[in-house]
Amino acid sequence: MDGNLELAYLSLSAILFVIGGVGLLVRRNPLVMIMCVELMLNAVNLSFVTFGKMLDDISGQVIVFFVLVVAAAEVVVGLALIVAYTRRRPDANADDIRLLRG
């Protein structure tokens, strides 16, 4: 594997991360926001794998499994919250949920 290919993987990872981050900030649909978070997580996963390959270290791939497990758990909780809230108020977006303001 030559240096350009690694640069390409890392660039893809950075682009995915920024897309996810901007999506999280600009979209108001909670479901889309969760998807953006997932996108960011997977962008990080991609860079982990790439670095693991670059440094010839298996730890990079091991961490990805941990991230996947945690992300799955997070999605379970997050989706459950969204489902519960959408049943109560079908047209609610993320900005409507702001009772915890100071």
Binding site: L25, R28, M33, A94, I97, G102
Partner: protein, 668 residues
């Protein structure tokens, strides 16, 4: 038997609790008998414990019930220290309290708050016993404050009258000055020794640095001056006479006011370790108080006021004895004084009761035929306090004066002059109340008209009325209302509940001198009994028999000349009474007035300054911190707006900032 010690304070406490909750339901007179029984049982227990104490080593017994305040290594116990000093105190406190409880059943008859009176009295006896029995300074302070609170309750017992409530407040506030001294003294004891238990710190007192010991002694002296009504804090005691007469007898003559003397005697190792001027200061305070109060008593017209100033004066003698190193003499005089002053006060109460609440001696006279028991017992008290041989006051006062002479001739001289005044004003009281012509009743109109025109002595100018502290009050003494009241009075002798205590107290007032006769060492029972507590630091008198006889003769001459002078003025009218009863004396040397002027003028400004400082600086600091916090928070809370996306942005920005910081710090 000595293990029963805890019962002594527990019995009055039980009486207090029962009367507090069920007093109203029990009612008169059972509530009174219950209170009397509680204190009487305590007295009997005290006698049993006394018998048991003989077998204890050094006549000392300690009993610790439980830990009251645990704080690491330091702890304060509810514990009792029974030694010869506290035993002597307990015996006369419970004994006299029992008699006064019995007397009160008769005196308070018909009062609508009859049960409440005995509730307070029992609480007082409990507090007083804690004061003398407590084995540490904190427990003594508990009793010290307890008796102060009871004193306040009882002075203003008839609180519907404004003057009584004011007198209660005055006593309470004046006492606080003394309490401050006691508290500071206790703190220093703790700093110096790490403990406040008497048996732990008193033996170490001789190893104390002189400055520390002096500081403790001075602070405790301030406490004692406040509680025992010495110059300059004596002003509350005469006003305390607003309370019912049994209260004056028990609290403001026999027991509570002697607490200061007890404290100083208890702390005698500290006094011995302090600078030489401390005992001098105590002696001078005592001597000055004895003299000043005795002179004021000469010009009072209220039968109880005379006795009040007399109490202040006699307490001065006790301080004089303590300052001269005569601790046993102080306790001796305390005990005899308790007997004869309680007898005199109860006698005065009997007169007031019989005269339908008349307290003004100008409207009395010739009462000896109507109140024979009161008159005889009162006269025994009079002979005792005047120092006539062989009554108890003669021996104890002479004991005090012997120590004063040992210390310094001038202390002795002023003590003698005060004794002369004592004999004079007490004789004046006896002559005005029990002898002469009746200045009451329907047939006394001529006498009353004469009184209105001339005052008590024939041809004398009008007496000076008006309240103490108000020298501009109308000096034209007797009003028509008072005259009218006097003509409707029908005096009578009191009931047996009141006369029996009088007789018992008069018996002891006459004979208590045998406790400590100065002739041989074997006859000084009290001196030998108190040896374990005070023997080490007691001044040692080495008097020849001749010296003793000369002193006793001088005392007798002084006492008899005081009585003779009063006889000349008030019975034979050789001198106008108004020449003796100078306005300065009537107004108590204007000390009260001076305090009022100072507190109302410059003192008031000082207090205002303190109040302003409190409001601006102290409150300002506290409120400023609060305002700052509130203001800062109201700005900070706008960040917390509730938008999840805003939080996400903040997390992102924060991450970027932290990353940027780390990247600048790390060298690749």
């Amino acid at each position: 038997m000595v293990e029963l010690l805890w019962l002594i304070p527990a019995l009055p406490l039980a009486g207090f609790v029962v009367l507090l909750f069920f007093g109203k339901r029990i009612g008169e007179p059972v509530a009174g008998w219950l209170g009397t029984a509680a204190v009487g049982a305590a007295f009997l227990t005290a006698i049993v414990v006394f018998a048991g104490l003989w077998n204890e080593p050094d006549h000392t017994y300690e009993l610790s019930l439980f830990t009251w305040i645990p704080a690491g290594d330091f702890h304060v116990d509810i514990g009792f220290l029974l030694d010869p000093l506290s035993m002597a105190m307990v015996l006369f406190i419970t004994g006299i309290a029992t008699l006064i409880h019995l007397y009160s059943i008769g005196y308070m008859h018909g009062d609508e708050r009859f049960p409440r009176f005995f509730t307070y009295l029992n609480l007082f006896v409990f507090s007083m016993l804690m004061l003398v029995l407590g084995d540490n300074l904190v427990l003594t302070f508990l009793g010290w404050e307890g008796v102060g609170a009871c004193s306040y309750f009882l002075i203003s017992f008839w609180f519907t009258k404004d003057a009584n409530a004011t007198a209660g407040k005055k006593a309470f506030i004046t006492n606080r000055v003394g309490d401050w001294g006691f508290m500071v003294g206790t703190f220093i004891v703790f700093f110096a020794f790490g403990t406040v238990t008497y048996t732990q710190f008193l033996p170490q007192a001789s190893g104390l640095a002189q400055t520390t010991a002096t500081f403790i002694a001075v602070m405790m002296l301030v406490g004692a001056i406040g509680k025992s009504a010495q110059l300059p804090l004596f002003i509350w005691l005469p006003d305390a006479m607003a309370g019912p007469t049994p209260v004056s007898a028990l609290i403001h003559a026999a027991t509570m006011v002697t607490a200061g003397v007890y404290l100083l005697v208890r702390l005698n190792p500290i006094l011995a370790a302090s600078a030489d001027w401390v005992p001098w200061a105590i002696a001078i305070v005592g001597c000055a108080t004895a003299f000043v109060a005795a002179t004021i008593a000469v010009a009072q017209t209220d039968i109880k006021k005379v006795l009040a100033y007399s109490t202040v004066s006699q307490l001065g003698y006790m301080f004089l004895a303590v300052g001269s190193g005569g601790y046993s003499a102080a306790i001796f005089h305390m005990i005899t004084h308790a007997f004869f002053k309680a007898c005199l006060f109860l006698g005065a109460g009997s007169v007031i009761h019989g005269m339908h609440d008349q307290q003004d001696m100008r409207f009395m006279g010739a009462l000896r035929k109507i109140m024979p028991i009161t008159a005889i017992t009162f006269m025994i008290g009079w002979l005792a306090i005047s120092g006539v041989i062989p009554f108890s006051g003669f021996w104890s006062k002479d004991d005090v004066l012997a120590y004063a002479l040992h210390k310094n001739f001038f202390l002795y001289l002023f003590g003698l002059i005060a004794a002369l005044f004592t004999a004079f004003y007490m004789s004046r009281e006896v002559f005005l109340v029990f002898f002469g012509k009746a200045r009451w009743g329907e047939s006394a109109e001529a006498e009353l008209a004469n009184l209105k025109a001339h005052g008590v002595g024939a041809g004398a100018t009008p007496l000076h009325a008006g309240t103490v502290g108000d020298p501009d009050a109308d000096l034209g003494a007797v009003t028509d209302d008072e005259i009218e009241h006097a003509t409707t009075v029908h005096p009578h002798e009191s009931v047996w509940m009141m006369t029996v205590p009088l007789v018992v107290l008069a018996f002891f007032a006459a004979t208590a001198g045998v406790l400590n006769l100065p002739f041989t060492e074997n006859m000084e029972f009290l001196n030998r009994w108190l040896e374990p507590v005070i023997g080490q630091y007691q001044a040692h008198l080495e008097e020849s028999t001749l010296q003793l006889v000369v002193e006793l003769t001088i005392s007798t001459i002084v006492a008899l000349s005081g009585i003779a002078l009063a006889y000349a003025v008030y019975m034979k009218h050789k001198v106008k009474a108004s020449k003796v009863e100078h306005p300065i004396l009537f107004h108590g040397w204007y000390i009260d007035h001076g305090v009022t002027l100072f507190m109302g003028g410059p003192g008031r400004k000082l207090f205002d300054l303190a109040a302003t400082f409190d409001r601006v600086v102290i409150d300002g600091a506290v409120n400023g911190v609060g305002r700052l916090t509130r203001g800062g928070a109201s700005h900070l809370r706008s960040i917390q707006n509730g938008y999840v996306r805003w939080y996400a942005l903040m997390i992102g920005l924060g991450t970027v900032l932290i990353l940027a910081f780390i990247l600048t710090q790390v060298n690749f």
